[in-house]
Each structure stands twice: as structure tokens, then as C-alpha cells.
């Protein structure tokens, strides 16, 4: 922990602080101010991009927990986000629950469902885990949700949520700005919660399992219990992501939660940096931002090459695939590592180390 000269702590509690210098605290206060006043001076389009970024952060948080902090590989996270979203939607539409209650129910069910598919982790690792989580994705979304759940109430595969159906204590969450505030609050809570969780015994157990699960077992950790706990926590975070995503949609359908979204989230983690919470945020901002910039870059180019704008979806996917590959080849520890390096450089300048 880098502390400039003149800064010292007088109590043990102070040494545990997240932001230990006035400078860091000031930075964070400015960031919070910026984030909360963004809708005042940014246009609606920027707010909607911010919404997508926040949704990606929440989704990637669950994946980071499993892959980066617990060492369990998961490609099927989109399925748990889907469970959260669908349970919340059904709660609001069919069971008449208020939105916060339905959201909590969605998170719990997503967590439990995730535990079910985390059970094989007691026996298998690595590649096989990829297979089981992919199977979880297919069975949950492509089978159960597509064929059974989405026919509930005769809604024929899409649940309609016209703006105004979702209200928190009488205040309707319908426009982009209201969704933005909801998402920001929940994201901050989740990030803070997870950061603190990782400093507790549970977090340390997860990191031990990630580093060497056999050694962790020999030290007396109940590895199976902690692995399932990790799956539960990831499922709950996925449920939060799903619950936050629905108010900005006009209808929910299984197509939002396909395998490619789960793979996308893993890609976000890798670009941001595995095993770091900063990485989640940086990765999400990078991926969402790059894709929006790509849209702007393509518009003038499509004068010369009209296929670019017609088939823009493919350009987006190709760019994302290429970004993952290039990051893995040239920056394998991700943007968070690069951020650390830059901070170190600035802190230590003009010295090299």
C-alpha cells in the first residue's frame, strides 16, 4: 500500500480503510458526484449507454467472483441473470408483488439455481466445468425458459412490461434516467458488498481455493461448502443484474440471455483483468465504450462501403472477438494491471521503482 510521507494512522481501524489518504478520498468523492449528476448534463443517449455499462458491470461481477476469486470457470452466467429477470418479471406481472420484493425473490432463486448447477464442481474442474456451465445455460434458457416459462400466462414468449409497470414504493421506474439511478445505487452497493466480502474469511477461503484447492482442503477448509457458496453468491449477483435490467426493457424474452452474453461477460473480465474489482469496471466501460465508438466510426466509412452499416452487428462481434484475442496476446493481465502500472509510474516518478 503506497502511502505518501506525512500520512500515518493512529488506530488499527484506520489501517483497514479503503481510501487511506485525503487525496484518494477526494478522488472518490468527485467520482461519486460525477456519477450521480451525469444525467443533468449528458443527453439521453449517453445515459442509455451508461445503463448498459452498469448492467454489464453487475453481470460481470458474478463471473469475476467465480472465475477471478474462486477459480471456478463459468460460461453459463447469462442463465442465472435470466432466472433473476424472469422471476422478477413474473412476480410483478402475475403474482402482484411489489418490485423490490420480486427482485429479492429473483435474486434468491437465481442463487439457488446457480447452486444446483454448481454441484458438479465438487467433482470436476477446468474444462469439464466449462461444459457443465454451458449445459446449464442451454438447459435453463434454451429449454426451460424458452419452452415452459415464457408460455406462462399465455404471453407467447415475451413478457410485456410497458413503461410504468415497475414501481418502487409508488414511484414508477420507467425512463432511462430513473433506471440509471436505480442501477447506480445497486451497483455501488454490490461492488462495496463484494469488496468487503473478499476481505472476510469467506473471501480468503475463496482465494485459497483458487490458488490450490487441494492444499486448501488439507488446511481444513470445507472446499465443497465454499465452492457452493461462491456459486450462490454469483447467482445472487446475477439476479440483481437481471432485476436491474428489466425496467429498461419493454419486454423480456429468452433472447436477451443467450450463451453469447455469458461468453461476452467472461471476455469483459479478461479484458479488465481477472481477480480484480477494478477490472470489472474497466472492462465493462472499455467494451461498451469501444462498441459505441465503433458505431460512430462506421457511419462515415459506410459511405464508401455500405455493407458496413447493413451488417453492423457482425462488425461489432468481430471487433469484440478481436479485442479479446489481442488483449490476451498482448495484455494478458488486463486493464487493471495497466492501471496499476500507470499509477505506480506516476507515484514513483522520477524514480523507476
Amino acid at each position: 500500500m503506497y502511502l505518501p510521507s506525512g500520512v500515518y494512522h493512529e488506530t488499527y481501524a484506520a489501517t483497514h480503510g479503503w481510501w487511506q489518504t485525503g487525496f484518494a478520498r477526494g478522488k472518490m468523492a468527485l467520482l461519486v458526484l460525477f456519477v450521480f449528476t451525469l444525467p443533468l448534463y449528458a443527453n439521453l443517449y449517453v445515459v442509455s449507454v451508461a445503463n448498459i455499462t452498469l448492467y454489464t458491470i453487475l453481470g460481470a461481477l458474478g463471473v469475476q467472483l467465480l472465475i477471478g476469486y474462486c477459480g471456478q470457470i463459468t460460461f453459463g452466467h447469462a442463465a442465472f441473470i435470466a432466472v433473476g429477470a424472469y422471476v422478477t418479471a413474473m412476480g410483478v406481472l402475475f403474482w402482484g408483488l411489489p418490485y423490490p420484493v420480486a427482485a429479492v425473490l429473483g435474486c434468491l432463486l437465481a442463487g439457488l439455481w446457480s447452486v444446483v448447477f454448481g454441484l458438479p464442481s465438487a467433482r470436476i474442474k477446468g474444462f469439464y466445468q466449462i461444459m457443465t456451465t454451458m449445459a446449464a445455460q442451454f438447459i435453463t434458457v434454451d429449454f426451460i425458459i424458452t419452452h415452459y416459462v415464457s408460455r406462462v400466462g399465455g404471453r407467447e414468449h415475451y413478457f410485456s412490461l410497458p413503461p410504468g409497470t415497475i414501481t418502487i414504493a409508488g414511484w414508477p421506474v420507467e425512463s432511462e434516467i430513473e433506471v440509471y439511478y436505480l442501477a447506480v445505487i445497486l451497483t455501488i452497493l454490490c461492488l462495496a458488498g463484494m469488496a468487503n466480502l473478499l476481505r472476510t474469511r469467506v473471501g480468503r477461503a475463496w482465494i485459497a481455493i483458487r490458488d490450490n484447492d487441494i492444499a486448501a482442503e488439507t488446511m481444513g477448509l470445507n472446499v465443497v461448502y465454499y465452492k457452493l457458496l461462491a456459486f450462490f453468491a454469483a447467482g445472487v449477483l446475477g439476479g440483481v443484474a437481471g432485476a436491474v435490467w428489466i425496467p429498461s426493457l419493454l419486454f423480456v424474452s429468452p433472447e436477451h440471455f443467450q450463451l453469447s452474453w455469458g461468453l461476452w461477460l467472461v471476455g469483459v473480465i479478461l479484458i479488465g483483468g481477472i481477480g480484480s474489482l477494478h477490472g470489472v469496471v474497466f472492462g465493462s466501460i472499455f467494451v461498451t465504450g469501444i462498441l459505441e465508438l465503433l458505431k460512430f466510426a462506421v457511419i462515415p466509412l459506410s459511405e464508401f462501403y455500405p455493407a458496413l452499416s447493413e451488417r453492423f452487428l457482425y462488425v461489432k462481434e468481430a471487433a469484440f472477438g478481436l479485442a479479446i484475442v489481442l488483449f490476451l496476446l498482448y495484455e494478458p493481465r488486463g486493464l487493471a494491471y495497466r492501471w496499476q502500472q500507470i499509477k505506480n509510474y506516476l507515484n514513483l516518478w522520477p524514480f523507476a521503482y
Partner: protein, 294 residues
């Protein structure tokens, strides 16, 4: 009863194509330890490349040979550009490179050729079905089966009898020892990828002949994974048997289990089956058994 036999036999015929693609996957894994999740997209590329040659007027056997050559070159290029640097990196990074490649290839194919179904015109195989003891088979299935079996035999012979094949086996068995004997690991990896591209390309072409080609052929690549899990990750006969079993399983599950559910069983049956296999026999039928219980 005749229907059951027809289902099983046509499942075997399509399964032979899956077996071909699974063989390519297993080769890559055996020789270099790379778990390739881009297999479906390799199939897609090979199929569209063959279609392009065919549309340019090459007769079909020549188009097939041209596809093999193109696949060979693409395999070498992919390995050199993307995977050479990843030797020794953690397993997740390598898998994610192949995932990134799969996004990239699929987008490239979609961009260049669109999502419409295209057929080989004029049709390569005659359209008249063959009748055989009351069962009906399209000729295209039979010819695809024959082609897949021939290629399988060729690849297995290459792997077991030729010098390059033996080098690949040596690298797969113990890389250090092979290196010390003068085998070039780089060439082996490149060759593994080249063979995978070729196998996938031919598999895609044969699939495309059956009813037409569109971008959904890429999802077939995911089906290869249950096949190799069933057969054992590093076993060549396991991959072949796995492919055949998955082909039959798809047909049977769609026809029989599909009656009980509201549909959609065909796509997920192989995966559900795979989960069950993983719970009871995770190393598949022929895979190397590594006991690691925690």
C-alpha cells in the same frame, strides 16, 4: 420398428460427420493441450469456402481438394498468429482465445456471406432417395457417410503410420521427451490445427450438401463437445464413437422424448446427456483417468 431403424441409421450417417469434426478437435487437444471452442466456426468457414469454389465452377471433387488446401493454410496461419504465443499460459486464457476467435470467425462469415440459406446448385448428389427394405434414405446421406468414413480412415492412417503422425503422437504423449528426440513442437502444433481445419471444413461441406448452408451450421461446433466428452478428451477412437452416438442420440431424443415435452429437445439432449456422463464417468469411455478428488 422400421422408423426406429431409420432414425438410428440416419443418426449414424450424420454422426459420422460429427465424428470427423470431433477427430479434428481431439487432435488439437492431444498434441497441444488446447481446448478449442471455435470448432463450429471452423466448420462454417470450410463449408462456405467449398461453396464459393463450387460456385466458381470447380467440379465438386476439385472443390473439396481446394477446400482441404485452404483449410490447411488457414490452420497454419491461425496457429502462427494467435496461438503460438499462448503456449504455457493458463488454461482459461487459451480457451478464451479460441472463444474470441469463434466470435471473430462467425462475424466474418456472417459479414461476407450473410445469413441466408444457400444451396449447392446444381446439387452435388442425386436427389432420388434409395429404398431399402422399406426404409428410405436420401442419397446425399449415404454419400456423406462414405466420404466421412474415407476421410476418417485417411486421418487415422496418417496419425498412426506416417512419420508426421508419429511425431504428433510422441508430442501428445510426452512433449519434453519428443523435443529431446528432435521433434519440432511448433510444427506439430501447426499441423494439428491444419488437420483440424481440414476435417472441420470437409465436415461442414458434407453437412451443407444435405440441405443447404447457413450460419447455424456454426452451432454444430458446440455439439462436438459432448461427443468428445463422451469418448474421452484425448482418445481418437473415442471421438469417433462419441460423434456417432451423439448423432443417433439427437434423432432418437427428438422423435421419442420430443413427444413428451413441448419441443426443443433436439438441441439440448446432447448437453443433458453430457452432464449425466460427467457426473458418473467424467473421463469418458476411453479417456485417460486422472484421479483428483477434493
Amino acid at each position: 420398428m422400421a422408423i426406429l431403424l431409420e432414425l438410428v441409421l440416419s443418426g449414424i450417417m450424420v454422426g459420422s460427420i460429427y465424428a470427423l469434426v470431433a477427430l479434428g478437435w481431439t487432435l488439437i487437444y492431444k498434441c497441444s493441450g488446447v481446448l478449442n471452442l471455435a470448432m463450429g466456426e471452423l466448420t462454417l468457414i470450410g463449408a462456405y469456402v467449398c461453396l464459393t469454389y463450387y460456385q466458381w465452377g470447380f467440379p465438386f471433387p476439385l472443390a473439396l481438394v481446394a477446400t482441404l488446401l485452404t483449410g490447411f493454410i488457414l490452420g497454419l496461419a491461425t496457429e502462427r498468429l494467435f496461438l503460438r504465443r499462448m503456449i504455457g499460459e493458463p488454461i482459461l486464457a487459451v480457451i478464451m482465445i479460441t472463444v474470441g476467435l469463434s466470435f471473430f470467425f462467425r462475424a466474418l462469415v456472417g459479414f461476407t456471406w450473410g445469413t441466408d440459406t444457400v444451396v449447392f446448385t446444381p446439387p452435388v448428389f442425386p436427389r432420388e432417395p434409395l429404398r431399402f427394405y422399406g426404409m428410405v434414405f436420401g442419397q446425399v446421406y449415404l454419400w456423406s457417410f462414405v466420404a466421412a468414413i474415407v476421410l476418417l480412415v485417411v486421418f487415422v492412417w496418417f496419425f498412426q503410420q506416417s512419420r508426421w503422425g508419429l511425431s504428433m503422437q510422441a508430442t501428445a504423449d510426452d512433449e519434453m521427451a519428443a523435443l529431446s528426440l528432435g521433434v519440432s513442437a511448433k510444427r506439430v502444433y501447426a499441423l494439428a490445427w491444419a488437420i483440424a481445419f481440414m476435417a472441420a471444413g470437409v465436415g461442414g461441406t458434407l453437412l451443407g450438401n444435405i440441405n443447404g448452408l447457413n450460419i447455424s451450421v456454426g452451432y454444430l461446433g458446440l455439439l462436438v463437445l459432448p461427443a468428445v466428452v463422451l469418448g474421452g478428451l484425448n482418445s481418437v477412437p473415442g471421438a469417433i464413437v462419441g460423434g456417432l452416438v451423439i448423432g443417433v442420440l439427437q434423432n432418437l431424443s427428438d422423435a421419442y422424448v420430443g413427444k413428451l415435452t413441448q419441443g426443443g429437445v433436439k438441441e439440448i439432449a446432447p448437453f443433458a446427456f453430457m452432464v449425466i456422463i460427467l457426473l458418473f464417468r467424467p473421463y469418458g469411455l476411453w479417456g485417460w483417468v486422472k484421479i483428483e478428488r477434493v
